[in-house]
């Protein structure tokens, strides 16, 4: 059963992380889902794959009324991000799904119709939610060619999708990173292989380092908070990714 844990709360403004499922089959990658609530409206960021819908729905419903979820945000097109879309739409056909314009005709293969999707332009956009405004921050080529993160300037929470992701062993299932240096081993290979462009990475690091962020929340692994946010951005800025970090892989085949 997945755990739902509030990671930020200020009145009705709340972030809930849906994490870790010990019952999940080992052949499925573990994912984090996040629900942002303001007033009577919630947005579910990266709702996850079809197979884990029962666990996500159940965990969400223990923390909040899932009928408050008006919006889904898909950071990119991968199945572990958004293949549960059809099930969420069975639950609430009125849901709107924010996603990169690039994937606006691909993701409907998972479900939805012409009323479902709100295409985000490459430069990003503001997403109104209850009394607050979230920001869809461009993170193209990190790793997908049409990729967005969410920044909540009020809560100073940054949903970073696959950036900051770590593949944690079962015994290291902590919610927050508590030993940054040790954590590197769980994320280094992932970032080298999955992040396609050093230029895009450096651009992202430069932009995001200017934001006020208390928590950086990836879609896999543990959440960075406090000084670890800056540590992560610095570490990522110095990492060679894409072909530069994987010359051997690029020459295969």
């Amino acid at each position: 059963m997945k755990k739902a844990q509030a990671i930020y709360q200020n009145g009705s403004h709340r972030w809930v992380a849906i994490v870790r499922d010990p019952d999940k089959p080992s052949y499925l990658i573990d994912t984090n889902e996040y629900v942002v609530t303001s007033g009577a409206e919630s947005l579910l960021a990266d709702p996850g794959g079809m197979e884990i819908f029962p666990a996500v729905f159940s965990a969400v419903s223990r923390e909040l009324d899932p009928r408050s979820i008006r919006y889904i945000f898909a950071s990119h097109q991968d199945p572990d991000i958004i293949s549960s879309l059809a099930l969420w739409l069975e639950f609430n056909p009125q849901l709107r799904c924010y996603l990169s314009w690039l994937w606006a005709s691909f993701i409907p293969h998972f479900g939805g119709n012409d009323q479902t999707f709100v295409a985000i332009p490459d430069e990003g956009m503001k997403i109104p939610l209850g009394a607050i405004e979230l920001v869809a921050v461009p993170a193209h080529y990190l790793h997908s060619s049409g990729n967005f993160h969410i920044y909540d300037p009020h809560a100073r929470v940054y949903f970073s999708d696959d950036v900051g992701a770590a593949l944690l062993p079962p015994e290291d299932d902590m919610l927050f990173v508590n030993d940054f240096d040790r954590h590197i081993r769980f994320m280094e290979g992932f970032h080298r292989r999955w992040m396609g462009s050093n230029e895009a990475k450096n651009n992202w690091c430069e932009r995001v380092s200017r934001l006020k962020i208390d928590m950086l929340c990836p879609q896999h692994g543990a959440i960075f908070r406090g000084a670890d946010v800056g540590r992560f951005i610095d570490w990522f800025a110095g990492l060679k990714v894409g072909l530069d970090g994987n010359a051997a892989v690029g020459k295969r085949g």
Partner: protein
């Protein structure tokens, strides 16, 4: 816990069987198409042969023309079957996908009472959608069965024409031997078509069971 008429199994064996059956039907239709093409070619030769044989082979020539006409009817019939199979595959696939969604919603509802209450409306409308989808599958299957029956009736006409052509070949005078050979080819090919049409009917029955 929620009880529902929807099968909670994640595998959908009957629907998968249905899809396999559709693939087999498609393959059999191709065989019929090839055989019909063969008769058409043989028919051209038979008409030329009858022309050379003269007045005594007029009946054979007419029958050869009718056999070619038969293959044109058969081609139309096979095209229609192909379209119906596409429609049936569409309906069965849609049903399979919907059942998969329903099965996951049921698993969600089984978590606890709260989930069951929240998911209940989706399950209710889902059950109605399942019924509609099943009706659509049944409708497509019925149309397919009727079209196969029609094709089999056409096959019987082909058999009758091939048998009569064999009789007419006996009046071929100096061309009797060649005409008997051609009529034998007609008979064998039509017999293969009739067998394929029988296979189509059997596969369709098995797919439904």
């Amino acid at each position: 816990m929620v009880t529902s008429p929807i099968n909670t199994s994640t595998s959908d064996q009957p629907a998968a069987n249905d899809l396999s059956c559709m693939i087999a039907l498609g393959e059999e239709i191709k065989s019929v198409g090839k055989a019909a093409y063969q008769i058409n070619l043989t028919g051209i030769n038979a008409i030329l042969l009858a022309g050379r044989a003269g007045e005594s082979a007029r009946g054979f020539g007419v029958l050869s023309g009718q056999l070619r006409e038969f293959t044109r009817g058969l081609a139309v019939s096979m095209d229609r079957l192909g379209t119906l199979i596409d429609g049936a595959v569409d309906a069965v696939s849609d049903h399979m996908r919907h059942r998969r969604l329903m099965s996951l919603l049921l698993r969600t509802a089984d978590h606890d009472e709260r989930c069951a209450d929240l998911i209940a409306p989706a399950l209710q409308s889902g059950a109605a959608a399942t019924a509609r989808r099943l009706d659509r599958v049944t409708e497509r299957r019925d149309a397919l069965r009727a079209a196969i029956d029609e094709a089999r009736a056409l096959g019987s006409t082909g058999s009758m024409l091939a048998r009569t052509a064999k009789i007419e070949a006996a009046y071929g005078g100096g061309f009797r031997q060649e005409m008997t050979g051609v009529s034998g080819e007609f008979e064998r090919t039509v017999s293969n078509i009739v067998a394929s049409l029988g296979t189509l009917a059997r596969l369709q029955r098995e797919g439904q069971s």
